[in-house]
């Protein structure tokens, strides 16, 4: 498919992108939107109660927020892009062409956001803590302005995220607005904003409880942040239902199994028990905060925060997983083959004329016509067809998936995998290429082939 494949050995590509994206979501939602909202709120409280403690609290928390948002949040945000550039270039390249304008506007919004945040941070002395009321007012306005921009940023990114699962009529008309304003757009945006507020309130509650300079502040802050966390959590319940009602039925059916994976698929009850336990822990913590039970809240708030983080990560997992075999809906499969390309590749094959294969594969003359040559070709096909999800010997290991199956069986399975497993893309290539891969996978599973490079799919030249 003219672009090279790469896989992070053993861990696989999915995990790397998942970790980067999840860290980014947690920081961008929980800190960049949620926590800063709580900081601005604390500044308003400080003004209203004329409290130097609340002001100092808001100011100290800003430092933490700024260092983590700019040091980890911004880097992982760009990082999602870095990772996809290396592991799914054709997909990110295509998405960039569909969503060039929102991404460009988002870039400018992003720059403005950071500049305002930095100004807000560096002017705590000169404005935030100034004696003159108008200066303090201007500092609060900076905070509000920053928050408005973060909401705008979220509104831009949600269009792209929603598109990947619910593309509306884009596959047919290829129109920008039908891609961007897809049917899950509004519920997902509301969901993300509520998650942000909820995470932010829990982080702020933890910070207030641990705040060393004033115990009294912790006592005052508990019901405020506890209440916000509780209200946002209650509002989240119908929003989640609203979101999933907009998801296509075929995808919705995979939601539970996407979290359980084949490890836990036979005990589906565990999904509901785990989610109920996590929600219960958060509710308990909110109650302790509202009732000002300092010690109980101290013990429960880190647990509640962890649970909220886990639930957020779970949502992202489901959303990413249930879009099933497509990276770009109706256009590109997870292995980066185009849907329309499939019939063409069935006739013409993948090996012949692939530009990158010519770059990479300089097969020594003495190997031509040997099994080593066909193994190299098959491993290349594995890289293009399967390696977006399957590793050799690591996560989602192809050799354990196929262990014990006969060679002819693997050949048949490869031809039907996309029908058997709704989230798998079809095999791309000719019948002969499929036979090549089946033979290679059979011997790989039997331990008869060693790999020289796992990340670039080169087998050891057999003696």
């Amino acid at each position: 498919m003219d672009l090279p494949a790469y896989q992070v050995p053993f861990v696989g590509n999915g995990i790397v992108i998942a970790i980067t994206a999840t860290v980014h979501v947690l920081i961008s939602h929980g800190l960049a939107i949620g926590l800063v909202a709580m900081i601005v709120l604390a500044e308003f409280v400080a003004e209203r109660r004329r409290s130097a403690e609340w002001r100092a609290f808001a100011r100290d928390l800003t430092k933490f927020a700024v260092v983590v948002i700019t040091g980890v949040g911004a880097v992982t945000g760009v990082g999602i892009w870095f990772v996809t550039s290396a592991i799914s270039p054709r997909a990110i390249g295509s998405l960039l062409r569909i969503f060039f304008w929102p991404w460009t506007i988002e870039w400018i919004v992003f720059i403005a956001e950071l500049v305002i945040l930095l100004v807000y941070y560096f002017t705590w002395d000169a404005m935030g803590c100034a004696a003159e009321a108008p200066r303090r007012r201007r500092h609060r306005l900076l905070g509000i302005g920053y928050l408005a921009l973060t909401v705008l940023g979220a509104a831009l990114i949600t269009g792209i995220l929603g598109f990947m699962l619910t593309p509306a009529s884009w596959p047919q008309d290829r129109q920008f607005w039908s891609a961007f304003l897809n049917q899950s757009y509004v519920p997902q945006l509301v969901l993300r904003l509520l998650v942000s507020v909820h995470l932010g309130a829990l982080v702020a509650a933890c910070a207030a409880l641990l705040y060393r300079r004033s115990r009294e502040l912790g006592r005052q802050a508990m019901p405020i942040f506890g209440g916000i966390a509780l209200v946002s959590l209650i509002l989240l319940a119908p929003t989640v239902a609203w979101y999933f009602s907009r998801v296509p039925s075929g995808a919705r059916a995979e939601s539970v199994s996407s979290v359980l994976t084949s490890r836990l698929a036979q005990a589906p009850g565990s999904f509901w028990i785990a989610n109920a336990t996590a929600t219960g822990a958060i509710l308990l913590c909110c109650a302790a905060l509202l009732l000002r039970r300092h010690r109980t809240a101290m013990a429960l708030s880190p647990v509640a925060l962890l649970m909220a983080i886990a639930l957020t990560a779970e949502f992202e997992r489901i959303r990413e997983f249930i879009r099933g075999p497509c990276l770009v809906p109706g256009y590109m499969y997870a292995n980066q083959a185009l849907l329309a390309e499939l019939p063409l590749r069935r006739q013409r094959g993948l090996l012949e004329g692939d530009a990158w294969r010519r770059v990479r594969e300089t097969i020594p003359a003495e190997l031509l016509g040997t099994r080593a040559e066909s193994d190299r070709a098959a491993a290349f096909l594995f890289g293009q067809n399967c390696a977006a999800c399957h590793t050799i010997g690591g996560v989602n290991d192809i050799t354990t998936r196929l262990a014990g199956r006969s060679q002819d069986g693997i050949l048949v399975i490869l031809g039907h995998a996309h029908e058997m497993v709704p989230f798998m893309p079809p095999f791309v290539g000719t019948e002969e290429e499929r036979r090549l891969v089946a033979g290679f996978l059979h011997r790989l599973t039997a331990g008869e082939v060693e790999m020289a490079s796992l990340s670039r799919f080169v087998p050891e030249a057999a003696p």
Binding site: V72, V75, G79, R97, R405, L411, M420
Partner: protein, 525 residues
């Protein structure tokens, strides 16, 4: 046609506009990158210098410099999004291929940046940091920070030299000697530029009015600029391709800017006067603008023709794919609305081997050395069938269906039971077996069959190692006709032999024995 094809979706804006914007965005990005890198280098250098000279009371100065790091680095990162976006929209094939060549290092950038930023900001934003900690975090941060431009330079060298990809990939994803030398010159040139630009920034921003600090910064800036001129000559000499006229003019203009800057700096040093902002920024602006322009002019000499060729190939591929578009959309729509009920699951997961009438005669079954089981003739228990679905059957095509939840597996089993009665009792024998045949059958089973099938119907230890192993006859049975067929003709592709030489009555006797082995369990609700 040889060579790669571009991304098939159309470019959102014309290529020329992308080139122009890329230059503007990259210039802005580089400005902050240089200040970030240089601030890191200067701060650590000052820490060592002050520490070495034992002037502990001045140790605030290096942190004063580092305090602004949080701002530069944030802007360097966000401003970097622009050029990244534009090069990926304008030149995806060249860029992604080069990234792939150095993929592990490329991915490492994230870890390096996070480490560098957290270390540097911890030191820069804390009021008090102990010296040992300062040294440790500062050095860790600096090493991580300085590694990043090295990786970017390598990737850009990859982008600019598509004709060398094969060579780079063949050499274990390392740059060959000449490109390696070019890489080193270019990398050092970036570091040198960062010291100069950050020195000038700190000179005006941190406003060190003590003379020795001012002089010291000035010395760094002058030294940096002179080293840059030397490194620039090295970089020019190491270029993989000789520059054309526009490139040479841009480099020449940049060099003039550098000389102008040196003159301004030396003048200030001699007269011992503070630098003037406008008088210093003007030569720096000329210098940076001209050199970054030269950089892009050189890059575009290979990138633009490469992109044009890839575009032509994309055009061709697009016209080849157009006839298949409607079919693809239909497939997609069908997938989105699929309903996971029993008949659908059977149709998509089982029927291609076992057949829609479950008799094991689908087209794909013909390819298999071990033919799929005739499910319509099989009788078993729910848990046995579920195990078979979860574990598959070794040595055959029967896969593992572990990704289906328990409920989904039950949907398949219920569907099979509804249509083919697979959980029902074994159908009755069509006719009786004479006592003589029954006795002979018992003898045959005890001496021949028992090698693999234990007297209670379980597989013997010997036969359990077969792939596939013999079925557990306690848990599953076949309709008598089908059992008779298997005993008579054997099961192809397995160890089960044909017993067609036994008298027909004896074979029916064996059928009787085998069917009686199945425990009468009915697990249906």
């Amino acid at each position: 046609m040889s060579g790669p094809s571009d991304i098939l979706l159309p470019r959102p804006i014309p290529t020329d506009v992308i080139q122009l914007l890329r230059f503007a965005a990259f210039t802005l990005h580089m400005l902050f990158v240089l200040v970030t890198l240089g601030t890191g280098i200067l701060s650590i250098a000052y820490f060592f210098q002050i520490w070495w000279m034992g002037k502990r009371n001045e140790l605030r100065w290096d942190r004063e410099i580092l305090r602004t790091f949080v701002g530069h680095k944030s802007l360097a990162v966000v401003l970097g999004v622009g050029p990244l976006l534009l090069i990926q929209v304008g030149h995806p094939v060249a860029f992604f291929s080069a990234v792939n060549l150095f993929a592990p290092a490329w991915l490492l950038i994230l870890g390096l940046l996070i480490t560098a930023f957290l270390c540097m900001d911890y030191v820069g934003q804390r009021l008090k940091v102990r010296h040992g900690m300062h040294l440790l975090l500062g050095m860790t941060g600096l090493v991580a920070l300085l590694a990043v431009p090295g990786i970017f330079v390598a990737v850009l060298i990859g982008v600019e030299n598509p004709d060398r990809w094969s060579e780079i990939a063949g050499a274990g994803h390392r740059l060959p000697l000449d490109l390696g030398f070019h890489w080193m010159a270019r990398y050092l040139h970036v570091l040198g530029a960062s010291v100069v630009v950050a020195g000038i920034f700190q000179y005006f921003w941190s406003q060190p009015w003590e003379t020795h600090k001012r002089r010291s910064l000035l010395a760094w800036i002058i030294g940096g600029t002179l080293v840059q001129i030397a490194l620039g000559v090295m970089l020019f000499a190491s270029m993989p391709r000789r520059g054309d006229a526009p490139f040479n003019i841009a480099v020449f203009t940049g060099t003039l800017g550098a000389c102008w800057l040196v003159a301004v700096l030396i003048h200030a040093l001699r007269r011992d006067r503070p630098l003037r902002l406008a008088g210093t920024v003007a030569p720096v602006a000329v210098l940076l603008f001209a050199m970054l322009l030269a950089r892009q002019l050189n890059q575009d000499r290979t990138l633009v023709p490469f992109a044009r060729a890839a575009d032509r190939r994309a055009e061709l591929l697009r016209s080849e794919l157009d006839p298949f578009r409607q079919e693809a959309l239909a497939t997609f729509a069908a997938g989105a609305d699929r309903v996971l009920d029993g008949p659908t699951l059977y149709a998509t997961s089982c029927a291609f081997c076992h057949g829609s009438s479950a008799d094991g005669t689908a087209p794909d079954a013909q390819r298999l050395a071990v033919p799929p089981e005739n499910l319509a003739a099989m009788r078993t228990t729910r848990s046995h069938l579920r195990d078979a679905l979860l574990q598959g059957v070794p040595g055959t095509a029967m896969p593992r269906f572990g990704y289906y939840t328990r409920a989904q597996l039950d949907l398949i089993i219920d569907d099979l039971d509804r249509r083919f009665d697979v959980l029902g009792p074994t159908p009755p024998m069509p006719h009786e077996v004479t006592p003589a045949d029954a006795a002979e059958a018992r003898r045959v089973f005890g001496t021949v069959c028992a090698v693999c099938h234990a007297p209670d119907g379980s597989p013997t230890a010997f036969a359990s190692a077969f792939a596939p192993p013999p079925p557990d006859l306690r848990l599953q049975s076949l309709a008598p006709d089908r059992a008779f067929e298997v005993i008579t003709h054997g099961y192809p592709g397995t160890e089960m032999p044909a017993f067609r030489r036994l008298p027909e009555g004896v074979r029916w006797g064996l059928v009787r024995i085998v069917l009686d082995l199945r425990a009468p369990v009915d697990e249906r609700p």
